[in-house]
């Protein structure tokens, strides 16, 4: 056995996220690691690659016990991880990145020619046209991913861990990647492939391990396991139980928000949609299909080159998020830490920041703020460990609740939620789904951008699907299923925005 793990456990504070995980990797196999967001996949592979330490449990390479204190130690044993968020030095060139930390030298000086040749060889093997001298910053995301893989190859990886490698790749790039994986497999490399795209896993996996809520629920050869079975194992319950019932829409549901002919340079080519009162409008599509760009352009955060936004049937000009706030449109960003919360600020100030004016007369009224904060804790069930002072100290789920509390201070009629459950435990997910249900029950409207298919299917009245900057279609009722969404998301079905505008 090339790599095996026995009874790995990991806790963050009081929160245990991995429970007694066993995993075996053989040379020359592609082992798929399946699970929903928050199931513990990333934590597990981070332990294997030396980025995190297990709280308890053992790990063996070639039947020798190992306990890595850093990713460097793991790399020395040939265990290399390709990150979900790419970890490249942006301002360095491709070849400098490939050899970063293990530069070839001739005497005291760098052997640039040898490094260039070996980079070129590695990149050629990946069938990419990336120039080894190009700056990483100037490459597309998929090319950057190829550079990461080239980096791993030149380091003679024996175990290659790929964390959602296709999340940012186009279909043709995925094909190249899979061909490469096959070649690596033939060379005897063990590949641990993380994904929740069952279709891909069906194509390339030899064996599969399913995690759910930090527990190992299934492991074995891929042959003989169906997609449906794996999907049920991943989710662990029927979709019906996961999601609250849909809010009954009134027959003549008024349109509260409408976007017509939106064009965002470099991101959205053509998109129009309507949002009715009390409705959840889902937005599906792969990462980079232009969903966030479209919504941010509607809100006035991004510049659009064409398009109209109507609020309650009246054209409105939104130049900045402030204008959207004035129109009672709230936006929950997908980037909680980077755009949503001031991490080193106390929780109370975070809640009131968006609508601070309401807590001033004219100096800030700390009592009003505290009151609003206590109400938020109650309403959103924010769980505070003792001595939590700043938002950074909260767990992902509680941060998301705090962000919800923050945007709800403007008393919105339209709530736009971007990836509401990314990196959140299952329990909190339920709460957020229930909260979305409460919003629509109260006659508010919700736009839900999500990369989780089951979430879109379980929560949305209609699902708008985008593909490469074009809104390819809006699905309704029976049409809302995984296959249809995939077909619209990959551009097989649906053409332009023309038909759906009148739908």
């Amino acid at each position: 056995m090339l790599l095996s793990a026995r009874k790995l456990c990991r806790s963050f504070g009081d929160n245990q996220v991995l429970f007694d995980i066993d995993l075996d990797l053989q040379a020359g196999e592609v082992h798929a690691l399946l699970g929903e967001n928050g199931a513990g996949k990333s934590t597990l592979v981070k332990i294997l690659a030396g980025y995190l330490r297990a709280t308890s449990g053992d790990m063996f390479i070639d039947d020798k016990q190992k306990s890595y204190r850093s990713s460097g130690e793991a790399e020395a044993d040939g265990v290399v991880m390709i990150h979900q968020e790419l970890a490249l030095a942006e301002l360095l060139s491709v070849e400098e990145n490939i050899f970063l930390g293990c530069e070839l030298r001739r005497g005291l000086f760098l052997d640039r020619r040898a490094m260039r040749e070996r980079s070129q060889a590695a990149l050629a093997e990946l069938e990419t046209h990336v120039n080894p001298r190009a700056r990483v910053k100037d490459l597309s995301t998929s090319d950057q991913q190829m550079v990461e893989i080239a980096k791993a190859i030149t380091r003679n990886a024996r175990v290659l861990i790929m964390d959602e490698p296709t999340a940012t790749l186009t279909e043709s790039e995925v094909k190249v990647l899979f061909a490469l994986i096959n070649r690596l497999r033939q060379r005897g490399v063990a590949i641990l492939y993380i994904s929740h795209k069952l279709r891909e896993i069906e194509q390339i996996a030899d064996r599969v391990t399913v995690l759910r809520d930090g527990h190992l629920v299934d492991s074995g050869p891929m042959a003989g396991r169906s997609k449906e079975e794996l999907a049920r194992l991943m989710v662990g319950r029927d979709i019906n139980e996961m999601y609250p019932p849909l809010t009954q829409l009134p027959e003549d549901g008024a349109v509260v928000l409408e976007a017509q002919g939106m064009v965002v340079p470099g991101a959205v080519k053509q998109a129009s949609f309507t949002l009715r009162r009390g409705e959840v409008l889902g937005f599906g599509g792969v990462v980079g299909s232009g969903r966030t760009a479209l919504i941010e352009a509607v809100l006035g955060i991004r510049v659009k080159s064409a398009g109209k936004v109507l609020r309650n049937g009246q054209p409105v000009v939104l130049r900045h998020l402030r204008d959207a706030v004035r129109q009672h449109i709230a936006y929950l960003t997908e980037d909680r830490k980077g755009k949503g919360l001031v991490l080193n600020m106390d929780l109370r100030s975070n809640v009131t920041l968006l609508n601070l004016r309401a807590y001033c007369h004219p100096l800030i009224d700390r009592r009003l703020e505290e009151q609003a904060f206590q109400e938020a804790i109650q309403r959103f069930d924010i769980r505070l460990r003792t001595a939590v002072r700043t938002a950074a100290e909260l767990s992902g789920g509680n941060q998301q609740k705090l962000l919800l509390a923050k945007v709800m201070t403007i008393d919105p009629e339209v709530v736009i939620i971007n990836e509401p459950t990314r990196g959140i435990d299952v329990g909190t997910k339920h709460q957020i789904y229930r909260f979305i249900h409460e919003l629509t029950e109260a006659g508010r409207s919700v736009i839900l951008i999500s990369s989780e298919m089951s979430e879109l299917i379980g929560l949305s009245h209609r699902v708008a699907v985008m593909c490469a900057g074009v809104l390819t279609g809006v699905l309704e009722g029976e049409q809302i299923n995984e296959q249809e969404i995939m077909q619209y998301a990959s551009g097989i079905k649906g053409v332009g925005a023309d038909e759906q505008r009148y739908a």
Binding site: S11, G13, R53, A54, T55, S56, G57, D58, S67, I301, H320, L321, R322, A324, V325, Y331, T333, G338, K339, G340, L341, V342, L343, N344, M345, S349, L353, L354, L356, R357, C360, P362, L363, I364, T386, A387, R389, T390, A392, E393, K406
Partner: protein
């Protein structure tokens, strides 16, 4: 490996325990340091605590202190202003030229002084606005912009003084003199202004939206943008506030010597930044303290004062002692941040 868990627990307990102590140390650290320094001064020379010496010291710290309060806002909001020293010299120069030329029309009365004071405030506001607008709209780092304006103002004052010194009309000087040398209820006027600016600054930073937005912008500009905050406007306002503070400091400074030259206000920007940092404000923004800044400014002056009162260390080593104190202060702050920070 199974022993890791209890260790983690212990480490966590320790962390939460020490964070409680750190909070106090961070808030009160500058005050404790000031008290220690005062004690040292008293031990070295009992004259240190004399009323004359104390009021003299506070008066001298008022210039840097007032400027540093403005700098607290700029730095808290994630900016930096290197131009304040040169700006002070430039404002002083223009003010003197203006008042001298107004003597013909308005005589050496209070009107002339008031017009000079008004012009100074206006000039400070404009200079700050330029710094702010170029940084925000031009999207250039504050360091570079204010390095540029620093050079511009410095050379302008040299040009205005024709390489020499600009002197205030003697008549005006007599009228203007009390602004530096006078006192009210036994407290020197500069100290009163310093105190007033500090109180206003404290309220502005801790009890208004403007202040809260400064913290948010300094912590994370993107989050501020997504919180519907006028980021560019708030940042520009911090530079304008800084300009007004520089103007106020200059208004107090001019009657002291009654002159301005290319050497006026040299290195004030660094002293102001040092006062802000000693006071516990983070140079990278997001965290600011007005009273800390006040203490920082007083400490810087106090070091010089103590060195004056003793023969143990040469007065020429003033900069050395100041430098050591700045580095130690920041080291202590960082060490505590590292333990509690994210």
């Amino acid at each position: 490996m199974s022993s890791v868990m209890p260790n983690d627990k212990v480490a966590e307990n320790k962390k939460s325990k020490s964070s409680g102590v750190d909070v106090d140390l961070k808030t009160w650290g500058p005050f404790i340091a000031l008290a220690a320094l005062a004690l040292l001064g008293m031990l070295i020379n009992p004259a240190f605590l004399g009323l004359d010496n104390l009021s003299n010291m506070l008066t001298r710290s008022a210039f840097i202190g007032i400027i540093a309060i403005g700098a607290t806002f700029v730095i808290t909001a994630g900016g930096l202003d290197l131009s304040v020293g040169a700006m002070a010299a430039f404002i002083a120069g223009v003010m003197i030229i203006l008042m001298n030329s107004l003597v013909e029309q308005f005589g050496t009365g209070i009107t002339t002084v008031l017009l000079g004071v008004g012009a100074s405030l206006l000039l400070g506001l404009c200079a700050g606005f330029i710094n702010g607008i170029v940084t925000t709209k031009g999207k250039i780092e504050a360091f570079i912009v204010t390095l540029g304006t620093m050079g511009i103002y410095r050379s302008l004052v040299t040009y205005l003084a024709d390489g020499g010194t600009l002197s205030l009309d003697w008549g005006v000087r007599d009228i203007y003199r009390p602004v530096y040398y006078g006192s009210l209820l036994g407290i020197p006027i500069p100290v009163l202004v310093f105190l007033l600016v500090a109180v206003v600054g404290y309220i502005l930073l801790n009890h208004t939206r403007f202040g809260r937005y400064c913290f948010a912008i300094g912590s994370n500009e993107k989050v501020a943008e997504y919180s519907a905050i006028h980021v560019d406007r708030i940042k520009t306002m911090t530079y304008m506030l800084q300009g007004v503070c520089v103007a106020l400091a200059t208004i107090i400074y001019v009657p002291r010597l009654g002159s301005a030259s290319g050497a006026t206000g040299v290195l004030w920007e660094l002293e102001a930044i040092a006062a802000v940092i000693i006071g516990g404000t983070m140079l990278k923004g997001g965290h600011g303290r007005i009273w800390g800044t006040v203490v920082g400014a007083i400490m810087l002056t106090m070091i010089g004062n103590i060195l004056n009162l003793t023969d143990a260390i040469s007065n020429y080593l003033n900069g050395t002692v100041q430098g050591i104190i700045i580095i130690v202060a920041v080291y202590l702050q960082r060490a505590s941040w590292r333990k509690t920070g994210p």
